[in-house]
Structure formats: C-alpha cells, structure tokens
C-alpha cells in the first residue's frame, strides 16, 4: 500500500512543540514498528537536493533527539546500499537531478522515498524558478511527504512512523 501524497498536510499548520516525553514515546513506537516490519533497525540515507539548509538543521535535531533518548531503532547511514529510506530535502535543483537519481539507484528494494519540507514536496517558495525542478516528485514518486518550512523534529518522526505503519 502506498500512502497518498500529502497525507500529512494538516501538520503544516504550526503544531505546538512537544515536550520530551512525546518525542520519547514517538521514538519508542517507531522503533517497535520498524522492528516488526523490517525485522531490524531503520536506516535512512539523506539527500540534500538544494534546500536552504533549514530542513537539514531539523533533521540533525531529529537525529540528536533520538540519540539522546537512547533509541537504536532509527539511524542515518552514509551508504545508500544499506538504507531503507531515501529522505530527500530541498526543491530538487536542476543541478542535483543526476546525483539524486544515482543515489536512488543504489538503494535496495523495497525502499521508501520520503520528501521532507515544503521544498521537497513541490518546490516550496522556489517553485517556478529556472533552476529547480519543483520537488522530489518531478524525479521520483515519494511514498510520503512531510510538509513544513521546515517541519519540526516531531513532525519528521511522526512522518517516519506513519510511513512504516501503513506498509505491509
């Protein structure tokens, strides 16, 4: 089953920031679901496709939160061949099209594609520029879009959770 794109749209409204317990609970559930579905930890390869770096900053915050909570079910990997999820940020600049396609080709199947941030969803404020494709969907079919400029760590974590929860 594929998640309908933009399924998480309502989250683009400013959500209240969570306290640490919410994040902890989210990470724990994520860990459990990842193990149930994939039988092991969840490996993410990030590709920055030319955003402003705001989304990368919130991805770093997400990673740090998860690390600080001592959960091991979620990790970022450098080698795309070891990844379950290709997590793309940025509006997909024309200059990144080839690099994204090459990285995508290295992921084993089945793998999931996640577009994180308004830019990755449809180009965001950069839509219509000569220099951008206008979102990941111009090159790949994302399984999930997490809007927000940038989405918060909680929104990114809940996106990961919903992605796994619907995969059978």
């Amino acid at each position: 089953m594929r998640l309908i794109r933009n399924a998480l749209r309502p989250l683009s409204n400013p959500a209240p920031e969570p306290d640490a317990r919410d994040v902890e609970e989210l990470a724990a559930r994520l860990n459990a679901v990842a193990r149930a579905r994939l039988g092991r930890a969840l490996a993410i390869r990030h590709v920055g496709a030319g955003g402003c770096n705001g989304c990368e900053l919130e991805l770093l915050a997400t990673r740090n939160l998860v690390l600080a909570l001592q959960r091991f079910g979620l990790g970022f990997v450098d080698n795309p061949r070891q990844a379950d999820i290709l997590l793309v940020t940025g509006p997909l600049t024309r200059n990144m099209v080839e690099a994204l396609a090459r990285t995508r080709a290295l992921l084993p199947e089945p793998s999931f594609i996640m577009a994180v941030g308004d830019c990755a969803v449809d180009g965001g404020v950069f839509k219509g520029s000569y220099a951008v494709e206008g979102g990941v969907q111009q090159a790949l079919a994302p399984d999930l879009a997490v809007p927000g400029c940038p989405p918060s760590p909680t929104q990114i974590l809940s996106g990961l959770l919903s992605l796994l929860a619907v995969q059978e």
């Binding site: 920031e17 402003c52 990368e56 600049t93 200059n95 000569y130």
Partner: protein, 460 residues
C-alpha cells in the same frame, strides 16, 4: 578600480559591476560594464576569482584578463544561460563534465566526495588530490543548491520578496532577513520603531547562540568528542524550543520584515528564553572544560587565513587576527575576541566566546523588550509603513558564521529591480580549501567542521 582596499563582496547587474570594500569602513564602488566586460580584479585581489566566475554565470559579464574562466554555479543544466543578464539565452546542450584544477606528480590520486556527502549535509562536491594520506589540494565545486533566488526576487515588492532572503541559508535566516530589511529601509528612507529594533536584536543574537552551539556540536562530533557533541546539541535544542515559544518558529524564519517585525514576542516566550539561557549558563563551566580538552587536539590543525586581497570576516577571520565584526558600530557592540593561531582550536574557542557574548547581548535586548510586554502592542510599535518609491541601499549584518550583505535597487513603484545577497561562505570556502591542503585525510572532516559553510548561501 578598487585600489588596494580589501574586497568583501563582488556582484553585478546587467551593465555594471559592484564591489563592497573595507576602506576601512564598508564602501560600495561601482564600475559600468557597457560592453558586458570589465577588467578582472584578480591581478590585485586574487580572491576575487570565485566572484568573477559567478558573475559570468549569472549576469553574463566577462572579467577581461582573468585566468580562470570556468563556470562556477552553472553546471550546464539550466534551461537558460546568464539568467540575470536581462536577455537570457535558451540553453539545451548536454551538460559538460566539470573541470577541476589538477595536482601532478607520481602517486597522486584523486578522491571525490559528494555532491551527496556523507551524514546530513548540504550538496557540495569536493575533489581532493592525495599523495598517500596527505591532501595536496582540495577544491570545492559549489552550485548544486542553486535555486535562482535572486531571479525570484525581481519584480516583487520588498515585503513580498522577504521570504527569499529568509531562505538563502537556514542557519542565518534572521541575519539575511535583517540585512534585506535594512537594505530596503535604507533605500526607502524607513525608520524602524524602537520596539521592533529591540526584537530584531533579540532574534539575531538568539540565532547566533543556537548556531554557534550547533557549530561546537558538529566540530566535537567530527573530532570524536561525543559528550561535548551531545551536550551542545541539547542546549541548542533548548534554545530552538524557546525561540518557538517566543517567536512562533524554531528558526525564526519570516519574523523580520522590511519596516519592522512580523509579530511581538509571546508573553510566555520570555521565561522560556530566560530558562534556556540559564540552562546554558549552568552547563557553561562543563562545556569550557570539555572544549579545553578538545582544543588541545585541534591545536595547529587546519590553518586558514583569508585569500589575498579579500576580507572574509566571521570567526575564521577573527581566528586569524582580523578583527572586523559588522556589529562593531552598533549601539551595543560585541566584545569580539581575536586570536591569531588561525587553527581549528582558535575557531572552537571563538565559537564558544561568541556564543557567550551573544547570550549577553540577547539578555540586553530582552531587557529592552520586556517593559512593553504587559500591554498589547499597537502594530505601529512593530512595523513602519514601507512606501512604494525608488531607491538604492545596502546593509551588512553579522551572522553567526560571518557578515552577510544585501544590496537592492528598487524602481519607482518600489519593486525590486536588482538584488544581491552575500553569504559569508564566499570568503570561507576558499579558506577551507587552503586549510585542507596539507592536512592528513583523516583530519579533513574535523577541519571541515571547524569552518562551517552554507552551500545554499553561496549557491543562491
């Protein structure tokens, strides 16, 4: 054209080239280029080379006599050539292979990294030339994050265009927004209400503290100091949550607008900010001890000095003995320290010192903000009207990484006719290349983390 004054930034419009020099005060110099040509500055200012390559890519102006005519941001994949030239040409040829400078010699091998670098990073491509494990030459290829930001700003009012400088570099969104707002205000003769000015100072210093904590965290991570990495990251997170509480956005994006600010500080946000600052204060002695141990290992590593003829600004320059800080003339200037060992250890110390000073300035700004908290503020206290008239202006703002610059030319309707946004990465990327040359390969990630770069900021 610009004499001996050191160059900070160089940009163009369709028939002119503009430079910002430090003389020693910042001063703009313009040179007409009616034939779409101008004499290269690289004879006197070798560090101008990247700017001249970018000017050719975007505006189509040729630097006569320049030795390095390779494209920089244009990888041959845009549907147009010279997009800002006013007469862009359609382009459909297949993209060429990028050309890198070479290093010759027996046993020299090339080592590419990127444009999808390891870890969570922006796109940037590196070509390292190695002899054994020693780096002989490091060259970066920027442009992968080029979004056409300047082109998107043209024809819009200053208010409507503000979202683009806010998204030039996520770690300097307040600083770039503020430089843009001040350039527009200078062009249009707008005076910002005092409360808005205080809120701007608060957001600028809050951004600085949070970004410098991230800088310390990433440097500690690269250098194998996980406890310092984790502690600094947690303190950054506390700051970001407080910023969300106070200003409604963790990175404070779109909060600074031409004329003033978008909204007042939330009453419950003030104690959150003070709480985050207190948490940092409690951990400060521990951070300093951990940093001292780390600095001992970073001493002498990644020596970086600005390119000849160029002022880069920011921590990398202040770690190399060059004192300039764009806030020096502010009413409440920073207590900027200057070191001159120019190594990764000096840059770590300055990240910490400037974070501490940012918190001092943030406290002062909050002192100015809090008296008005009890009463709901009229919108005139937060923003002045922005008239639709012609004008030209520029402004410099010191971001956490270094000075950012915005220059604007507005037409009779107050719409943006020409624009330039300068990120400190223009000065820092060449310094990073120099710092990597001569290093051991396994030190490269540490050196890289000691000079933070915004690929997006430079790629425009």
């Amino acid at each position: 054209m610009i004499g001996a004054a050191p160059l900070f930034s160089l940009w163009a419009e369709p028939l002119a080239v503009h430079a910002l020099v430090l003389d020693p005060a910042p001063r703009m110099i313009s040179l007409p280029a009616p034939e779409r040509r101008f004499p290269t500055l690289t004879r006197t200012h070798p560090g101008a080379v990247m700017f001249e390559r970018m000017i050719h890519d975007l505006w189509g102006l040729e630097a006569l006599g320049a030795e390095d005519g390779r494209p920089l941001l244009d990888h041959g994949r845009w549907p147009v050539l010279n997009p800002l030239s006013g007469r862009p040409v359609r382009h459909a040829a297949p993209p060429p292979q990028p050309e890198f400078l070479t290093a010759w010699g027996e046993g020299v091998r090339q080592f590419p990294i990127g444009p999808v670098p390891p870890d969570i990073e922006e796109p940037l491509h590196w070509r390292l030339h190695l002899l054994g494990e020693a780096v002989l030459r490091a060259e970066a290829q920027p442009g992968f994050a080029h979004k056409g930001t300047l082109g998107l700003m043209l024809g819009k009012s200053a208010r409507a265009a503000a979202r683009f400088p806010a998204r030039l570099a996520g770690d300097a969104t307040v600083a770039h927004s503020l430089a843009f707002a001040r350039a527009a205000e200078a062009a249009l003769g707008v005076t910002v209400p005092p409360r808005a000015a205080a809120l701007r100072r608060a957001m600028l210093e809050a951004e600085r503290a949070a970004v410098l904590l991230l800088g310390v965290s990433r440097l500690a991570e690269a250098a194998g100091a996980p406890q310092l990495c984790a502690r600094a990251a947690l303190l950054r997170e506390a700051m970001l949550r407080a910023c969300f509480g106070a200003f409604g956005h963790r990175l404070m994006m779109d909060r600074v607008l031409p004329g003033g600010v978008a909204q007042d500080i939330a009453p419950e946000g003030l104690p959150m900010l003070l709480g985050a600052m207190a948490a940092i204060g409690r951990d400060w002695p521990w951070l300093l001890r951990a940093a001292k141990a780390l600095a001992a290992r970073l001493a002498g590593m990644g020596i970086a000095r600005p390119e000849p003829g160029v002022v880069a600004g920011g921590i990398p320059a202040r770690a190399a003995g060059l004192a300039w800080d764009a806030r020096a003339d502010d009413e409440l200037p920073p207590r900027a320290a200057v070191l001159d060992s120019a190594d990764a250890a000096a840059r770590l110390w300055l990240m910490l010192a400037e974070c501490d000073d940012a918190l001092r300035l943030l406290r002062l700004a909050l002192d100015d903000v809090s008296p008005g908290m009890a009463s709901a503020q009229a919108s005139s206290a937060l923003s002045a009207p922005v008239p639709g008239v012609a004008g030209t202006g520029f402004a410099l703002v010191e971001a956490a990484r270094g000075p950012v610059l915005c220059w604007l030319r507005l037409d009779e309707a107050g719409l943006i006719a020409q624009a330039w946004l300068h990120d400190p990465s223009w000065g820092h990327l060449p310094m990073l290349e120099t710092a990597l040359a001569g290093a051991e390969l396994h030190d490269a990630p540490v050196i890289r983390a000691s000079i933070p770069i915004s690929a997006s900021g430079m790629d425009l």
